[in-house]
């Protein structure tokens, strides 16, 4: 959910709660006040009637508002308020009244006084007041809601821009991040932190890049010297034992050099030093690679079945795409048995390469790890490189062993 949407939603919920609360309590308070006022009015009326009877002896009667009756005075009625329903003869409908009844003694005579006031008036007043309160609050809120919404939009516009800038930031593109200056202190602080962080990231990235390149150089150079000299030794007339020893050392050094290059490659992929500018066709690559592998396949007498339903295209650096297919095919050939099979199935969104081979205890979780190998002659880095390429390019690679050893490559959903 967007930040502003969230704020607006919270604002609306909060408002609804406040409105409900304020209206209910406001209504109750007003109700209490107005009822008390009404009761006071009735009491003061009682006093006036008492005075009038005392002075003139006249008994006022105004149905249904004032009713006074002379009584024997033995019933002992306590002053009380209650609600009564009385039929209005004029309009022929029932009306609710607040009734006050009391028995008072004036000049040794007892009178029962019943004073009434229409409850309807009181309720109406309360309702009108509560409604006014509600309307005022609601309009104040609506105005402030739209004003803040508008203001938020302008205030957050720079933030939106900067966020977009940060999103599109790429280390390997070697571009600088350009953030819009903000008058808002918090945003400016955020900008400063982001700029500092990206600068740090960039310098770390360059250092790492430089390190891998230097490491490569520093290791390859002495290896070159050793290898060139050993090769020259081979040119002499050597005894079989000496020759084999020298040749073994050459193989070992070659392995070391290959290992070094693979590790550097892994760190380069991890560093995202390979830019992908366009989509590559895996169909094209696999067809070319199979051609390159043809002698190897022939040598091992492998039967290859290729089924391409649709070209699988992915956005990947061309060199990495070649490497990916190369390593998967190499794996299918290297760990195959003589006279075995390789089957390749490509759909528009996946590539499956299956091969016959000896059973091993490797699983989907372990087979892609570095230096894990089912064959002592391999480095155990080929599949690690495959997984690294997938991880850094929104792809998935999975392995399962179900009669055949299968690797399934697909784009991440």
């Amino acid at each position: 959910m967007k930040f502003l949407t969230r704020i607006n939603r919270n604002y609306l919920i909060l408002f609804a709660l406040i409105m409900a609360g304020v209206t209910v309590t406001g209504y109750s308070i007003l109700h209490v006040i107005i009822m008390r006022e009404a009761k006071e009015k009735l009491l003061s009326k009682e006093y006036l009637i008492e005075k009038q009877i005392g002075n003139t002896g006249e008994i006022p009667n105004l149905h249904p508002i004032i009713e006074v009756q002379k009584t024997a005075g033995n019933e002992l009625i306590k002053p009380s308020f209650r609600k009564v329903v009385i039929k209005n003869e004029l309009e022929n409908e029932n009306e609710t009244f607040l009734e006050y009844s009391n028995e008072i003694k004036i000049n040794d005579s007892y009178y029962l006084i019943k004073l009434r006031q229409s409850a309807f008036e009181n309720e109406d007043l309360v309702l009108i007041l509560a409604l006014t309160l509600f309307t005022l609050l609601a309009s104040a809120f609506i105005i402030s809601f739209f004003v803040t919404k508008r203001m938020n939009k302008t205030v957050w516009a720079d933030f939106e821009h900067n966020l977009h800038e940060i999103e599109s930031f790429s280390l390997s593109a070697n571009s600088n991040i350009s953030l819009i200056k903000s008058d808002t202190e918090e945003f400016e602080r955020l900008n400063r932190v982001v700029t500092e962080l990206t600068d740090k990231l960039k310098s770390d990235y360059l250092l790492q890049k430089e390190f891998t390149e230097n490491a490569s150089h520093e290791i390859q150079t002495p290896l070159s010297i050793a290898l060139l000299n050993l090769e020259e030794i081979l040119q002499h007339d050597l005894k079989e034992e000496t020759f084999q020893k020298a040749a073994t050392v050459i193989s070992a050094l070659k392995r070391l050099s290959g290992l070094n290059q693979s590790l550097i490659l892994l760190s380069k992929i991890e560093n995202k030093q390979f830019e992908a500018n366009r989509s590559v066709s895996l169909k094209e690559i696999i067809t070319r690679k199979l051609d390159e592998f043809s002698v190897l396949l022939e040598t091992k007498a492998l039967e290859v079945k290729v089924k391409i339903e649709q070209d699988f295209q992915i956005k990947l650096n061309e060199h990495l795409a070649e490497l990916l297919i190369n390593n998967l095919l190499s794996n299918a050939v290297n760990h195959n048995i003589r006279g075995g099979r390789i089957s390749i199935l490509m759909t528009g969104a996946s590539l499956k390469i299956c091969n016959t081979g000896e059973d091993n205890s490797l699983t989907n979780e372990t087979i892609f790890n570095r230096f894990v190998t089912g064959n002592p002659k391999s480095y155990g880095l080929g599949l690690a490189i495959v997984r690294k390429i997938c991880e850094t390019h929104d792809m998935e690679i999975n392995y399962y062993n179900d009669e055949l050893h299968c690797f399934v490559l697909r784009t991440k959903l």
Partner: protein, 224 residues
């Protein structure tokens, strides 16, 4: 043929120059940018081997001045960085080839010969060895007036042997020449036997002799 070798590692410089001298090249050496620049402004070379990481300057800027001063010269970059960017950049700047350390001398030899051929310094497209005659232009091999039906890889391999005749080569060197670093060579070099046996058989069928010698099961040599 005159070659200038620019390389800051003295050991490497000596190993390369010893080998190339044996291959009948005239070698001049420069172990830093200053010396290389000086030599390039005085003498003319057919091929320049250029290490692009020099202690006192960038080899790539040297490449630009070579291209300006010595249009004839073929340039092969030697780099310890197996970096695609560097390779593309170097070739864009006018280098003829790019070779990554560690390399085999036989491979270097084959690359130098290829540059010379491309520059037409060799004068001839034909490489001859007794009854075998290989045409680098049409990429065909003729043995006793019969043309061999070789695959592309078989032709490559035979040419590699002819260029490096009398030299013992390891299986690694041969495999690397054929596949560069495209194939993870974990398993074995079985496929080299397949290739070699095919070549041997085809030459034999045309009436030629078998010149490919196996050295103690670990290397090969093309010789009398």
């Amino acid at each position: 043929m005159k070659i200038l070798i620019i390389e800051d590692e003295i050991e490497l410089l000596i190993a390369i120059s010893n080998f190339l001298t044996k291959e009948k090249f005239i070698c001049e050496l420069a172990e830093n940018f200053r010396k290389a620049d000086e030599k390039l402004s005085i003498y003319e070379y057919d091929v320049v081997l250029l290490d692009i990481t020099l202690p006192d300057g960038n080899g790539l800027s040297l490449l630009q001045s070579i291209k300006k001063q010595q249009r004839r010269a073929g340039v092969i970059i030697i780099s310890a960085k197996n970096s695609l960017d560097d390779k593309i950049h170097g070739l864009d700047l006018g280098a003829d080839d790019y070779i990554t350390k560690p390399f085999h001398l036989s491979e270097l030899n084959s690359r130098i010969k290829a540059v010379l051929r491309r520059k037409k310094f060799d004068g001839s497209d034909i490489i001859r060895f007794n009854e075998i005659s290989l045409n680098t232009e049409s990429k065909t091999v003729i043995v006793k007036d019969k043309e061999l039906a070789l695959t592309k890889k078989e032709y490559d391999l035979l040419q590699f042997f002819l260029i490096n005749k009398n030299r013992v080569m390891t299986k690694e060197a041969i495999a690397e020449h054929l596949w560069e670093d495209n194939i993870d060579l974990a398993d074995s070099f079985d496929f080299i036997y397949t290739h070699l046996n095919n070549i041997r058989r085809k030459i034999k069928q045309a009436g030629g002799a078998d010149y490919i010698k196996t050295i103690y099961g670990m290397g090969y040599k093309f010789s009398q």
